[in-house]
Amino acid sequence: MKFIIKAWAVLCVTVLIGCSDTGGNTLGGGADGGSQGSVDDPTSEAYFEASVGDRVFFAVDESVLSAQARDALDGQATWLNSNADYTVIIEGHADEQGTREYNLALGARRANAVREYLIGAGVGGDRIQTLSYGKERPVEICSLERCYAQNRRGVTVLNNIGF
């Protein structure tokens, strides 16, 4: 049963981010893969990922939130404010075009930019942790800008504490 749910979640995310030609790149290893529940249940992780959108993207070497990113985070904040059973970990990621340590620090900046925005939109700071993966967990694995653009991301990973 768990496998089926995970497979479904991978499919959703693949559609969402327009998984290009990288060939069978399942989400795994990092925490930003696999989610629980049905996309039809508006209080589920799967719904959050598929309909609200769990990630925002950044420009090269930037942690500034674009207008598009702020819109996405407004949606996340609205959802989180009405689904108080969830805490979140914001994962910051970087593309491979940088040194390891710098990318860890850059990912942390990105995660924190997302966190600060969500707090500003009313989500309690005690519900939000941050984490940087630097360049360790690319979601797209080609060495082209179209992949890098998907990898420079902040991902809001839900953790249901309601049970």
């Binding site: 990288t22 060939g23 790149n25 399942t26 795994g28 290893g29 925490a31 070497d61 942690s63 491979e96 075009q97 940088g98 040194t99 390891r100 340590e101 710098y102 860890l104 620090a105 850059l106 942390a108 900046r109 995660a111 924190n112 930019a113 966190r115 600060e116 942790q129 941050t130 984490l131 940087s132 993966y133 360790e136 967990r137 690319p138 979601v139 797209e140 694995i141 080609c142 060495s143």
Partner: protein, 435 residues
């Protein structure tokens, strides 16, 4: 790098300081010095097993340095059948062997082997230094070979060898995007790989203690990146810094082994801290809204080089080991990161990113005399050989099937070559001298 082969006559045979056969390692073009190392003589049956293997490793070490060239045994005219008989110099001259290495191996019933060896300056017609004898467990035969090669390298270059050294690194398996990483340690030449952690969590950037018996690294064991200290012998580890809401990474030992400099991230901002290992207390060394990371001590412990984007892009800075205002040292095009102070104290190795390419480079500690040693899609993370003559680093190939592996290069930029590892490999750190 230029090799000056000074074949002066052996007038001062007893003066250890003026060896006649000498490679001088400086800038310029190099012609590897030809040497002959015939199979060592087995003094008994227990030694026979090691005689050929041992001399092969000696030859690989010397040849691998790029400074020497082995003359194949098939070309040898004389055979060495006795360790004590006089050497037929003319036979070795005839094949242009400038140095000759002879030796014996004997084994004992208790699993020990004893290696004796001599080095000859063929054209001077004399022994180069005194013969030496090493005894150790047969299991450690490769290490004994490295020690022999270190003596040869030392007597001919006048500098300490780096062959009896180890490398701690991150072994990588699995697809890009879902890489499994674990800490591993091996001899500098890729032999004797042992794993220090499993691959349950991401591990990054291990660094040796000054005595080589402990390793600092970053692990996601708790789900969040934090710095750990691992004892190489027992493989026991402990977390050094895991305060909630923070990330710690990029740890490196101070030269006295008593403190650790590292990066701590809080609220999205990364600064450099110094932890006293006995008290566990940390002191903040930088305090800026920019990224400050990848700190590395000068060998005398008085200064720290690190990277910062305080100017708007990643650049290198030097500050006092107690903190205070840093001085920028990198001013060329592009971005500079992962600085590492050389063991000689005279240079800093770094990663440079410019126009979509990555380079490993070196500069003087004041930022002058920058030289790029490599160029590729992604080279990063230099580490110095214990004698400061060679740099090892990570090279990652591009694309969906891209993989990381280790390379080494002379600080002259010559002798670029892969280092053999069983799987993918990244983040090498070379051990200090004498392990």
């Amino acid at each position: 790098m230029r090799i000056l082969i000074l074949l002066t006559s052996l007038l001062l045979a007893t003066a250890a300081v003026s060896a006649p056969l000498r490679i001088k390692i400086t800038e310029g073009v190099v012609e590897p010095l030809p040497f002959a190392a015939p199979s060592f003589i087995a003094e008994n049956a227990a030694g026979a097993e090691y005689a050929k293997m041992l001399v092969d490793v000696v030859a690989q070490d010397l040849t691998g340095s790029g400074l020497f060239r082995a003359i194949p045994e098939a070309a040898h005219i004389s055979k060495i059948t006795s360790f004590s008989s006089p050497v037929q110099y003319s036979d070795w001259k005839a094949i242009n062997a400038q140095a000759l290495i002879t030796g014996t191996v004997s084994g004992s019933a208790t699993g020990q082997i004893t290696v004796k060896f001599r080095i000859y300056d063929v054209f001077a017609g004399a022994e180069l230094g005194k013969g030496l004898r090493f005894t150790g467990s047969a299991d450690g035969w490769r290490r004994m070979a490295h020690k022999v090669a270190d003596v040869v390298y030392g007597r001919i270059t006048g500098e300490s060898g780096y062959f009896d050294s180890r490398v701690v690194f991150v072994s990588e398996t699995g697809r890009k995007g879902a890489r499994k990483k674990r800490l591993a340690i091996m001899d500098y030449d890729g032999a004797n790989v042992q794993y220090l952690t499993d691959s349950a969590s991401i591990v990054l950037a291990p660094r040796f203690s000054p005595t080589g018996d402990r390793v600092l690294y970053t692990s996601y064991e708790t789900g969040f990146p934090h710095i750990y200290l691992l004892d190489v012998g027992s493989v026991k580890r402990k977390v050094l810094q895991n305060s909630a809401g923070t990330m710690s990474f990029a740890p490196r030992f101070a030269p006295n082994g008593k403190s650790v400099v590292y990066s701590l991230e809080q609220g999205g901002n990364t600064d450099i801290y110094l932890m006293n290992l006995s008290s566990g207390k940390s002191r903040r060394l930088t305090n800026a809204a920019s990224i400050e990371t990848a700190p590395s001590f000068s060998p005398d412990g008085s200064q720290i080089v690190f990277e910062s984007d305080r100017s708007g892009s990643q650049q290198l800075y030097v500050m006092s080991a107690s903190g205070g205002s840093p001085k920028r040292i990198s001013f060329g095009d592009g971005r500079y990161g992962t600085p590492v102070w050389s063991p000689r104290g005279d240079m800093i190795a770094f990663t440079k990113q410019n126009k979509g390419r990555f380079h490993i480079g070196v500069m003087r500690v004041d930022g002058s005399k920058e030289r790029l040693l490599t160029a590729s899609f992604l080279d990063e993370g230099p580490t110095w050989s214990p004698n400061g003559r060679v740099i090892m680093f990570t090279r990652e190939t591009q694309g969906a099937s891209g993989a990381a592996s280790l390379y080494s290069v002379d600080i002259s930029g010559r002798n670029l070559k892969p280092v053999k590892t069983p799987d993918g490999a990244s983040d090498p750190a070379w051990s200090p001298l004498g392990r």
